[in-house]
Symmetry: D2
Subunit: 322 residues, 4 copies
């Protein structure tokens, strides 16, 4: 029963790990490779049908994860390699998301959207990236007419600051500035503390309800009108997840003893209502509005925001040369 | 000739002072009064036709100035009075801007737009106001269905940060969030240092090119689709204005002597090109991208932003009770 | 055994709650009262000897807690009452900390120290208070010679920013600016989520290792040279505490069943090393560097910092009139 | 007479330019060279006696200026060269400032002091540098015992924030943390707009009253107890300087005419008091608390702070290898 309790993760990679033991699933295709230059382990998960959707609890699409972004110890050369690798993955996702009949020589307009609340450190990734990205800083000069890529950026804030759903703002700015694609940067929730600030997920899908903040409406091609590429880095774990995992580990620790049997007997003797009450007692309601985050999250978010901004700065070159 | 050199001010009040000596102008109607409670001197300037437009160098409309906002010395009671007075002026401008056929009992949606660059202290007024305003912070609760006013807010950033014209972003957000009126908050340029951070201009017109920043396109009813109320506080003087004024004062100081005659002779002997070159030498080209601002502008802007935010917080009550 | 695992709280009030069931302790004197005007429940805990020190795990001294600071819903009048009440408690702690032979008419110099990291939202309380406090903002004017209280303020940053122990910086500034007393503001860790951002602890003792950050050396009269009054508000819960509490609740839930007996048998059959390993597995090492905090911590910290700053602003009046 | 009016510049280079026409001065030794790799023009001015002190209006010492820091257009390779060159100049100033009898193999402790007000954009250089410098960010690890250089950093704030003279805070932190040398980073005032954000002055002297802010007491070896190396970048021009220069240029423009004679006659006919009144009218009193700064000062200060921080990060390697 405990295992059924929702374990929120915004990483498709972690969702896949949870169901791995159950053997190969239809509708899920996984490819792994290791990129020597950047030191990144790349996992590409394709959800290809509704079976896959159900098994992983997220929408059809491609979810690429780049792990091992040990930025704290990486030198500036290796950071460049990482940024280049991330830019390549972005470029591929953009190309496959756009209308295949589009003329490849047309100029592409990209709108970078930095989701999240700048005032809350672990939720500040998106706004920081829009601050750090420099490719759009034309000053008074218009970009050369023959530039293949044109980039703009916005940090729309969160509902507590604006009184508006973020998706409403983004939809409006898309309608008036007419980009060909949106790249949405967001801080995510993971299950494993080892993945905080070290893993990037790039995908052609944003699932509603993801992110550190409360993005009630998802940012999707349907809701904003153009393809949306999502770039997310986990910075928090839900407090409820921590509690759940502790209890699962606790019961596992007594797996060989009679406890599990006794516990099952007790559970069986409870009504459904009693069982729910027990769960609610363990995972207090206040937990649902709380998250767990590392002490040094400020430095970590600044470093990862810097790499993502660098990747965006490299994107025009990489898309043009490809 | 010197007097002809453009003396930029965003305050209609100052523009009117410059032409006062020339006697009463057609197309300009001025009313003054003093509000005892708040200690504010209120001047209402109506530009009623194209004569007035030409004389004051700005578009037809109402420009209300509230002077003497000595916030540094005001106690919290007096600040409340000031906020209330500003809210009343806003309410009047909103009512006269909106469609007269609108049902007075309909809910009014207001979008507060904080113009300017938060990273540049004297240009941070607008973004600070959107931070301080609290009336829209519903948390998880929706406002009561019968609330007469609903307020949302956004700080769209400046072109150097977004790569987009601010008006494009605002137009988009207006289109998707459908407010009935926009209240745009902006830091302005004045001519007199005594007016910096002590004067508020409220008007039903934003003129293109106003503000500390470079808002190339104006925010107008035409460009965004709904009425726009402008609330501005001067925080800078153009560097060119300072230089111009010094030279005018300098020549005035010698008014009784032969200097003016001699100067006129010299000027007359110059070609037009030489005269222009002289002006350019005096007001160096680099001046045009520079501004003058007080040393304590940080504290001053925070104080005025707080009063404007308070006025916005009071607006729903005042509009409902009116 | 689980109960023995350290449950960190920086609130003496919570430490006292944990030992309450064990009956009255020598060396601990508790007084409670309710302040109608402010709506605050005030609990004063005096630790009077080493028995009390051992029982509560903190040094001899007075720990006053003001609960129920429901700032989100308080109007500005009630906030004024709260600030006044807090200022009174500060005034009493200051007076009892200072040399009784001091001339009561001498001017008192207070140094406000805002501990913590401004870049990490739940640790930003101290730096925010030093920003908000206005009583020291003399501008160019020296305070009147006959002012009874003179206040200065500093936010020393954290070791990751300065490379220095915070206590080293404070000791230096105390030595050169010679205040009579230090008021140290800090964000704390609590055990109960209900106390986050709603409770203030004021005491004449700072215990080493307290606070959200890692203040390795305590700020004490011994380490800085003058009395230190501590004002703390809990903004986080240690991640290990959350896990611990969940497991305790879990085992309690099965208290009536045979599980506890079985569990005890299993535990007894384990070696000490095995038991430790189990604990470490449940409370992962990474947990020790993580904390739990509410989603809306930014707004909550801003509100409480504002009240504490207001209390400091009121302190001179209150100390002079008393 | 106008020329006598104080023209404030914090750059010894500009002070020297103003007296150049008067021929070679005793007590001033100037060396220039051009560094190809970094593209910097380096001017070293030594003030060697009281004649030089009087002529340049500043204390004996070495003032090195690195011009042409066109950071907006420099690529990251050239920025590295600039940072290295600045680090070399710092290393030389440190070595010549320290006790020559010191054992060259002893560990050197450096305290970086970021002067200025972070909330006022053109005064934020110092605090930004202490934020960006990373060499002191040891996290939990102490630096290796055999590290030759150990760096710490502090941003003491300004008097309006702390109520204390900055020098009092620095003296205290020096006393308690015992560095061998202080490197003080500060934003300066220049005379020429072309030098704003493009010139660095490194010197072994800080003159009282320099800097954008109001540092009433200088930071000197005498006031803080250890040698002080000053690193300054001009970000503002005094408003009075702009006005003065305009009037000088204006009178120069009429140099060939009779105006100068007439003006001299008028001036001569004035009493001393009348002349002072004229000057005060031209350079309004409010001007003395105002400064002129470029519109894009935020981006410019961030870029130069980044280079200075990089130079500090390189300093340990450069001092060790030298």
């Amino acid at each position: 029963m405990l295992e059924e309790y929702e374990n929120r993760t915004d990483l498709a990679l972690e969702a896949n790990e949870q169901i791995k033991d159950e053997g190969k699933q239809s509708g899920i295709v996984v490819h792994e490779n290791y990129d020597e230059l950047s030191g990144l382990k790349i996992t590409c998960i394709d959800i290809t049908d509704s079976n896959g959707e159900k098994a992983l609890g997220r929408k059809m699409g491609r979810y690429v994860t780049a792990e091992n972004m040990e930025l704290a110890t990486a030198d500036s050369g290796q950071q460049d390699y990482m940024a280049d690798r991330l830019a390549c993955i972005m470029a591929e996702l953009i190309k496959s998301s756009m209308n295949p009949s589009a003329n490849p020589h047309d100029r592409i307009k990209i709108l970078v959207v930095g989701l999240g609340n700048k005032e809350v450190t672990p939720d500040s990734l998106g706004p920081l990236v829009t601050e750090y990205v420099s490719v759009l800083d034309y000053g008074d000069d218009e970009p050369a007419e023959d530039a293949h890529i044109r980039m703009t950026a916005i940090a729309p804030g969160v509902m507590a600051q604006t009184g508006m759903e973020t998706a409403v703002i983004v939809r409006g700015v898309v309608a008036s500035s007419r980009p060909d694609v949106v790249i949405a940067i967001d801080a995510l929730a993971a299950r494993s503390s080892a993945r905080l600030n070290t893993t990037v997920q790039l995908s052609d899908r944003i699932n509603p309800g993801s992110g550190v903040g409360n993005h009630r409406m998802g940012l999707t091609r349907e809701s904003v009108g153009v393809p949306v590429i999502a770039v997310g880095i986990p910075t928090v774990i839900e407090a409820a997840t921590i509690v759940h995992d502790a209890i699962v580990n606790f019961t596992k620790a007594f797996a060989g003893s009679d406890i599990m049997g006794t516990m099952k007997d007790v559970m069986d003797s409870m009504t459904e209502r009693e069982r729910r009450a027990l769960m609610l007692e363990l995972i207090a309601p206040s937990m649902s509005t709380m998250y767990v985050t590392p002490r040094d999250v400020d430095a970590a978010v600044q470093r990862t925001a810097y790499i993502v901004a660098k990747a965006l700065d490299r994107l025009p070159d990489i898309m043009t040369s490809a």
